[in-house]
Symmetry: C2
Subunit: 321 residues, 2 copies
């Protein structure tokens, strides 16, 4: 199996590459290294079955040319499109960030797949496509879909253009709607932010918002496991699944307390106001993973356990720098 | 009221301009004149309250510059974004057509609105965002949304990016999900196609597909009336409504027969195979306008009457050329 991963140097991409290599795949990946880091590829870069190239996927010509060369050597059987803008607040300020890195990377991936007649696509979508349907259990078939961030909008746009491609040339597609995912290598997110803040001012942690925001969190190891499970078991032409923790999540307050306990026990925590961290952030949602459970997969860690594990891993990651 | 219309020289845009002028608005509009035609503006071009400029809305810089100048003279109170690719099969062949003309025109409209602090947007969306949910009554809140054409995908992408803009700066938005709309000036569509074919070969009409495709049709006069009604009566920040005929529609066979009866009585009709006209065409759907009815509007013509009226108008339009 020759698997190609976009955004391979990112948080999810590098973990996915490592797991697929362990499972015997030959893996190749591109990344523009804007938010992804070469360092993240340390565990795989010397593996003879792994190939990396720095390519900007938003530039169709260089993307196509590089993938044609790769495909000639080792014909690609499936593409896992994990590349996207991961800095959601940056995309709120400037819509062109998510246009380019979240949407155009998808459009170009489809263009290149059509050109090379590669017909299997796995895609990292997000719970953000659902917008802020307060209080409603988010099952996959819910509507209306009115995302409240440019990131969510450009992920929904990506799903839509993939869906049109299923009608015209894609043979098999897997859309994974990610929850908040935590673990290492951490490059962004609240836990890393808290660790950084405490490393600077060990006696106090300032938290954006009032700490009441509650979200489910999944550990990245479980996310990878779920994606591969879906890939191996789902049988529709267009498969779409929420992936998430099997609970209503934990609050920002809980996360802050866990970080304090590991990184700087005894530090005080100061909260801001409001329950939205930034424009486009959904304060609270309830994510259904019933469809995935019916397919036969469920997470082994709850949100609280995933947070505890990730805090220890992130603290260790930062301490080793 | 200074109203700005994108795609003002198109089928819907020119009819909207005419109606708004009659209702006392000052109207300005841009069009790149690719599919829109100057001829369509004949009824309004000499009206002192109407301003037209040829501008490509997919080019942000020229769009912004032209709108800034317009806005300085007559501050714009609302933007009606009607511009889009109207050639759906062309968008199936090349995804860049709908990317550019259906989606980037929306994104750029939002960019320019943000820049000029214009906070009211009315947007022409489409039933195509629903994809092919066979047999399910299409209410506005239905899911999942998996469009089967690039046109539908880029309209859904437009809705999504508008929805994110509602979170960040838009004060009031009206999303109109159009059904198939017929009337004059006809620039595309099955009725015009049939008239053209019969004008070339008056004794036989060749129809793509088996004629069993069934869709609701709304006359453009009623569409304009419904849009203005929604604009004047809906009170949410984000208002979204299906607009359509209040029935399950008519078949392609019915439409072909009406055209034959008017244009070339006695001509035979030959059908092809299959019930899909082209990739991305939804063969049959049932459109709910219950939400619009609850707001207080319903069409006066059924699909069959709308088709009969439009056939007479299109036949007259073509005969006068």
């Amino acid at each position: 199996m020759n698997t190609f991963i976009t955004g391979v140097a990112g948080f999810v991409g590098c973990n996915l590459a490592e797991t697929l290599l362990k499972r015997g795949h030959r893996v190749a990946g591109f990344d523009n290294l804007c938010r992804g880091r070469l360092l993240n590829l340390d565990p795989v870069i010397d593996n003879p079955n792994f190939t990396f190239k720095k390519v900007d996927l938003a530039d169709l010509d260089s993307y196509r040319e590089a993938l044609i060369r790769l495909h000639e050597r080792h014909p690609i059987s499936s593409i896992w499109h994990m590349a996207a803008n991961s800095d959601i607040p940056a995309g709120v300020t400037d819509v062109r960030v998510d246009l380019r890195d979240t949407f155009m990377t998808t459009l170009n991936t489809l263009e290149v797949m059509k050109h090379l007649n590669i017909q299997t696509l796995a895609f990292a979508s997000t719970s953000a496509i659902y917008g802020d349907l307060q209080g409603i259990k988010l099952i996959e078939d819910i509507g209306p879909l009115f995302p409240i961030s440019n990131y969510g909008a450009m992920k929904l746009a990506s799903e839509a253009i993939i869906s049109a491609a299923v009608e015209s040339f894609l043979e098999r597609t897997y859309i994974f709607r990610f929850p908040n995912v935590i673990g290492t290598p951490a490059t962004h997110g609240a836990l890393l932010d808290f660790v950084h803040k405490l490393n600077k001012t060990p006696n106090n942690l300032m938290v954006l918002g009032d700490g009441s925001q509650q979200k489910p969190y999944l550990h990245v190891d479980e996310l990878i496991d779920a994606m591969i499970y879906i890939y191996e078991h789902a049988t529709e032409r267009l498969n779409y699944f929420n992936i998430g923790a099997d609970d209503d999540g934990v609050t920002v307050k809980f996360m802050a307390e866990q970080v304090v306990a590991i990184v700087s026990p005894g530090a005080t925590i100061t909260y801001g106001e409001g329950n939205k961290g930034w424009v486009g952030d959904v304060p609270r949602f309830s994510y259904s993973i019933e469809k995935l459970r019916r397919l036969g997969w469920k997470p082994t860690l709850g949100s609280a356990e995933a947070v505890r594990l990730a805090v220890r891993q992130i603290a260790a990651q930062e301490a080793s720098k």
